[in-house]
């Protein structure tokens, strides 16, 4: 299945030389959503070559950028097609495009219209004025929910490998029931980080994602405790679970920073400098406790 639309100049309706020119990426979904949002209008749609990537991600990489826009204006002979010299761009494309450079090189003035395609009709009807709401990002429950399946699929391979290894080792040490329990505890902790924490993001306490994740992870441990009546068959195993499970949840919640639209690289780096050593330390300590517990059980009373 192809998610690309060939780059170039497209006509929506029957535009003439005076009609506005909108610029978008050649990700099929971007193209389709723009067309669908503007039925019955006469517009030009200039589609840039972003290799099928959406505007925001392509702008971050620079493929939705000044160079490609200038090249596409020339390749499509846009100056001969329209008489005006104005382009309408998505606000999230501004990361890749320098408006003043485009104007200097092509004579076309750039207007950053709105963040969301849905605001385009209002923008066009109101004399191309951007309202404050059109400029403000959102990250609603529904928007976060839409990201969860992608994250799940991306994590599937690692989850399966880690889960299988954990099941095998735990089953060897504690029998099949122990293996199943370890697997359920691990998968629950991971899913809490991949699904639950992103959905509950604004309501989880703390600013850092790893902190939010660790709290969600402790909540998962509490669920296990209440379902079973106890956590594990020894104090060592209980402490090991209390260390490792929230660390797993924190790890996956931390990875959700890449899906959000408000975390800065400086912030993520700062958080990682503390969180990554703490998470690794918790897991290593947990493994040491598990080994001690195993030794005690198999030492036949030597300890």
């Amino acid at each position: 299945m192809s998610y690309l639309v060939p780059a170039g100049l497209y006509a929506l309706g029957t535009p003439d030389y005076a009609d506005p020119v909108l610029v978008t990426a050649n990700y099929k979904m971007s193209y389709d959503l723009v067309r669908r949002a503007l039925p019955g209008r006469n517009l030009w749609l200039l589609v840039l070559e972003t290799n099928g990537v959406n505007v925001w991600c392509a702008a971050g990489k620079g493929t939705f950028g000044t160079e490609e826009l200038v090249r596409r204006i020339e390749a499509t002979r846009l100056p001969d097609v329209v008489s005006h010299r104005r382009l309408i761009l998505p606000i999230l494309g501004a990361t890749g495009v320098a408006a003043h450079e485009v104007e200097r090189l092509t004579g076309f003035a750039v207007s950053y219209a709105a963040i969301r395609i849905d605001d385009l009709p209002e923008y066009l009807d109101n004399g191309m004025v951007t309202t404050p709401a059109m400029r403000e990002l959102t990250f609603t429950f529904r928007e976060r929910l839409a990201l969860v399946p992608v994250e799940l699929v991306l994590a599937l391979k690692n989850l399966a490998a880690a889960g299988a290894l954990l099941f095998f080792l735990a089953a060897l040490a504690y029998g099949i029931a122990g293996g199943v329990l370890a697997l359920v505890a691990f998968l629950g902790a991971a899913l809490t980080g991949i699904v639950v924490a992103p959905l509950l993001l604004p309501w989880l306490p703390g600013r850092s994602f790893s902190m939010k994740g660790a709290i969600a992870g402790f909540a998962w441990v509490a669920v296990l405790f209440f379902v079973r009546g106890y956590l594990a068959s020894s104090y060592l195993l209980t402490v090991a679970a209390l260390l490792a499970l929230p660390a797993v949840t924190a790890y996956y919640t931390l990875n959700f920073t890449g899906c959000t639209n408000f975390t800065s690289p400086s912030g993520v780096k700062k958080e990682m400098r503390i969180a990554v050593p703490v998470m690794c330390g918790a897991v290593v300590l947990s493994i040491i406790l598990l080994l001690i517990d195993w030794l005690i059980r198999h030492s036949g009373g030597v300890f």
């Binding site: 963040i115 993001l201 920073t257 890449g258 639209n261 690289p265 400086s266 912030g267 993520v268």
Partner: protein, 96 residues
């Protein structure tokens, strides 16, 4: 952005008022309302809302805004770290 705040005091964003021409491009392109115009001069009104996307500095014709821009993605930094130590040959980052 309503309902979401990330770590404070970390953004590398800076504005040189001496160079600013007051064109307002930074206000126009910032999706987090970090800037406003005060007496025809740009002003940073909410530094901690900055996600360092770099749209403002790229679109400032006076080179008055600067920021170490990038993507705030933990997975990306982990891959970078592993690649830097030759522990992973995975060429891709978290995004396609």
């Amino acid at each position: 952005m309503k309902g979401f705040r990330y770590l404070t005091g970390v953004a590398t964003l800076g504005l040189d008022p001496g160079k600013c021409m007051g064109c307002g491009r930074c206000v126009e392109v910032c999706p987090h309302q970090v800037f406003d115009l005060d007496n025809r001069m740009a002003r940073i009104r909410d530094l901690d809302a900055c996600m360092e996307c770099g749209a403002c500095s790229r679109n400032c014709p006076a080179i008055a805004v600067r920021v170490d821009s990038g993507v705030g993605c933990a997975t990306g930094f982990m891959h970078e770290w592993l690649r830097g130590r030759k522990l992973s040959k995975d060429g891709r980052r978290c995004c396609p």
